[in-house]
């Protein structure tokens, strides 16, 4: 059974990569922010957060941070996700679910194409 001590292998792998990253592009971090107020949680923000973590880990995207925040001010549109890419305007996705997460990562985070169908006012049901 895994224990905390088993993290060592992952730590050593990360350390090598982090050194490379620090030298190159410390400012180039992409931030994904998931709203995690009561309304967000009950609308499904936790599986959305975890889907981002899984996708970013399995694609080994080294400059992407998944973070959470509280109230995003639009309960009816939760789960809400903001994507911050350095040098670009932040993008807000609404009614996000794990399937949409995979598309947001593939199309927007990896390939730079905003998923316009998940923006406010564009969501189809």
């Amino acid at each position: 059974m895994k224990s905390i001590a088993d993290i060592k292998a992952i730590r050593d792998k990360m350390k090598g990569q982090i050194n490379l990253r620090d030298n190159k592009d410390a400012e180039q971090e992409i931030r994904i922010v998931v709203g995690m107020a009561t309304c967000g949680i009950s609308a499904g923000a936790r599986p959305v957060f975890n889907a981002f973590v899984d996708d970013v880990a399995s694609r080994q995207l080294r400059n992407v941070k998944v973070t959470r925040t509280g109230c995003m001010g639009m309960c009816a549109l939760e789960p809400i996700v903001e994507v911050h890419i350095p040098g670009e305007d932040p993008v807000t996705y609404v009614h996000v679910d794990p399937d949409k997460v995979r598309k947001i990562v593939a199309n927007h985070i990896v390939n730079g194409n905003v998923c316009t169908e998940y923006l406010i006012g564009e969501e189809r049901k």
Binding site: I4, D6, I10, K15, M36, F49, A57, T67, G70
Partner: protein
């Protein structure tokens, strides 16, 4: 909320917002009772505000906005034949404790505690967390301070680290029957 683990996430978020340096979360299932406790050393609340926070509908005219997180957790406990208590002291911290009859028909399942842990410890928040999960088959503890010591500077919210922690918690929960609560 469909799962008590979602309530735990929501209540522990209050602790993070309250600036807690340490949040202790304990889940125990023994002798027919499920007990969930979330204790923090955050900013706390004064007695008058505390009363309003627990009963937003029975108290008169709220001057400050109060949310639904605490009332929802209280309702979940009382629906399941349990009890709810919140203690808080300004400047010291807050402890929320709810009990549930394990076999009560209206008790929500505990749900995915591993996902709740990952969401709490990831996401770039500064608080440390200590988790204790106990059943009649055994007990499992996890402390982010110990994990951070092993990580030696690597960020705890790196997705690779979080995936590892989720798997570790799942395995340990399975071992004590905690995934079926």
């Amino acid at each position: 909320m469909r799962e008590l683990a979602l309530n735990i996430l929501d209540i522990a978020e209050n602790s993070v917002k309250a600036g807690a340096t340490l949040v202790c979360i304990s889940v125990r299932a023994e002798r027919g009772l499920l007990t969930i406790e979330i204790a923090d050393d955050g900013c706390g609340m004064d007695a008058e505000f505390l009363k309003r926070v627990t009963d937003p509908f029975t108290t008169t005219r709220t001057t400050r906005k109060v949310g639904m997180g605490i009332p929802l957790f209280k309702m979940a406990a009382e629906m399941a034949g349990g009890t709810f208590r919140i203690e808080s002291e300004k400047g010291k911290g807050t402890t929320v404790r709810a009990t549930f009859e394990l076999d009560h028909i209206d008790r929500a399942p505990l749900g995915d505690l591993a996902d709740t842990v990952v969401t709490l410890i990831g996401g770039g928040c500064k608080s440390d967390f200590r988790f204790e999960i106990g059943t009649e088959k055994g007990c499992f503890e996890f402390d982010t301070r110990e994990l951070k010591a092993e990580l030696d500077g690597v960020d705890i919210s790196e997705p690779d680290v979080l995936v590892f922690v989720r798997d570790m918690i799942k395995e340990n929960l399975m071992d004590i029957g905690g995934e079926r609560l």
